[in-house]
Point group: C4
Chain length 207, copies 4
């Protein structure tokens, strides 16, 4: 296992690069990594991701949901509950990423009524953990947006119980969550999903 | 309050980054910050924003509308009157930003007849000062373009008096203005609005 | 007048930045500047513009059309004749730029039959030399593409004689030419035109 | 012939730049260069291309298809067979590049049934080896995707035998392959093709 400080530095570097892609406008989005079985580092609320550094990760107990010695006036992301919920139900999940992109915003609205967005037939599906062929189908659940994160976390936990192979989900008009056993796996899935969402969007714009 | 020179350096850095996004082509756009209750720093006219530095801010009295010791031959932006008008009517506004983007240009034309562009249902509305839920509506006024900045300033002041919660406005075929209590707030709102305008445009291109 | 070597360094820097925007794929495009009344520096043929430096400018007599002491095996751009033609008929033109972008390629094809592309009503028209209001019309001529550069140069000269306020032209399926009294003016017009062409394209994609 | 290590460093730099364009999301894509008549350097499988360096090239015999002293646990790209097939049938091919882009993904699906995508009338066709005028037609074959690389390699070899002037091919829902006598020629063709595919896509989105 790499040194935690070094791992968070590298993660912060990824977060700045994703920001440069336009994936986290206006201090939005959040990121976490499990740094011990019952401990996560999660991004501080309200930070401009173009300036995000290792110092903007806060440590929080996963069972307790309590920040460890937070600096005064500092809060973790408002969506911390979604991270806790997943780490609690999935022991193999060690990193969670969340982006706001134009394509995931539009498509999450478009597919909310259907309840999922289907990705099928793409070579890049092989970037998703457990997918070994393009002849695969990946259904990404779409949840309605809400400001009641506890309620959304409960809805996620219920759906995850019935769809334990879920690899990502969308929140309507809001963004995308995906995760992995490592930060690198979460990064790989994030890049693949954002690419495939752009493909899906662009197909809808084609005559 | 941070050192003014340092604050202007940081602002100039943001301006160069916005230029790299394509938000200020061809020496267009302008930016200001209130540096004392009756004093603003405003961008010099005609500067290529990819090369904008702290040296390109000029100081101007807000009540007087007079430049403080300007270098010979140097003018502030042609739209200085729009900045003065807002600082004069809103004591809590301390930073104003103005961008020319493809999306704000097209949509400002599209919604001119209606008089406003409505943004609704987006999580990213929470990046706008005073908005705490995606279940919100933000109406962005659209003004007709004119080369008579004093007339446009008067039109803005009148509308602002009746819509004091206004957070931004568009000028048709021209661009977007937004502002905040700090440069950081103006930046956050700018990034959110440009993102949401791109969402709105892309929805119109979808079948 | 700035030092020529310094001016060419700065120009080369602009050329690399335009390449980073995607405006000169696959070693395409060409650039020149008049460095004396009868002398221009013009970009060498076949250079990857992401690596373009001051060393890639060749000197050529404007009346003579002859390279000054060219290194062995080095040629100027295949479209050199278009640069010579303009410098010969317009004493006030001192810089010429030519880009290949997706938008100028598509729109030049679309408007070839009409013979020009009309830009109207945009604030950014004020970035064009001599335009002082958005209530202006800029007609950009569109020429058919040809590999016979001398013929195209003659066609341009004829049209320029009847449209001496011409500020730019398109070649169908090929690209955009614009120019100015200085490199900075040509840069400003180039950025404005590429922005406005993107606006025009995106309007055609809107429902 | 330049020093091989220096050549691979330069190639790795190109690969990182293409990644920055969004052409190799999620550790996808692969690249090779022939470094001796019967020896190629080919990219290692699973590497994030934003971090790709000279160290990520593996050496493999072209006739043998065997890696030369590979580090433990390291594999070459899963699509190595496509590289070997082309080097074996084309002695003048010395570099092969493969990208995953949104435009090549969508268009490869769109033109699969037709079996090829036709590019015609573009000035940028002159960036393709052997093309000297825009009055040319370039048909890019489209193959169905498969996880059986040997079968795809055989299909390619058969088609290449009947279309020996083939300059590139698409795999449906997957990506683009192109190649050249040098890395620089492959780079030039790649940039030209990706540009022209974007043109083709954008025309389909136009009303």
């Amino acid at each position: 296992m790499p040194n935690i400080s070094q791992q968070l530095q590298e993660y912060a570097q990824y977060i700045r690069e994703w920001n440069a892609h336009g994936w986290s406008p206006a201090t939005s989005t959040n990121y976490s990594v499990r740094i011990a079985p019952d401990l996560m580092a999660i991004s501080q609320s309200g930070v401009d991701k173009s300036r995000f550094t290792e110092q903007h990760f806060l440590q929080m107990g996963i069972s307790s949901g309590q920040l460890i010695a937070p600096p005064a006036g500092v809060r973790s992301s408002a969506e911390t509950g979604l991270h806790l919920a997943l780490y609690r139900v999935s022991a193999e999940t060690n990193a969670i990423v969340h982006t706001h992109t134009v394509y995931n915003t539009i498509l999450s609205e478009r597919y909310l009524a259907q309840g999922y967005l289907r990705l099928a037939g793409y070579e890049l599906l092989k970037a998703i953990d457990g997918y070994t062929t393009h002849e695969s189908v990946l259904d990404v659940p779409v949840f309605a947006n809400t400001q009641y994160i506890d309620a959304l976390a409960a809805e996620f936990v219920q759906r995850y119980a019935s769809e334990p192979t879920m690899k990502a989900y969308l929140i309507s008009g809001h963004g995308l969550y995906t995760w992995g056993k490592t930060v690198e796996e979460a990064k790989r899935q994030l890049e693949a999903l954002e690419f495939l969402l752009e493909c899906e969007y662009r197909k809808t714009a084609m005559r």
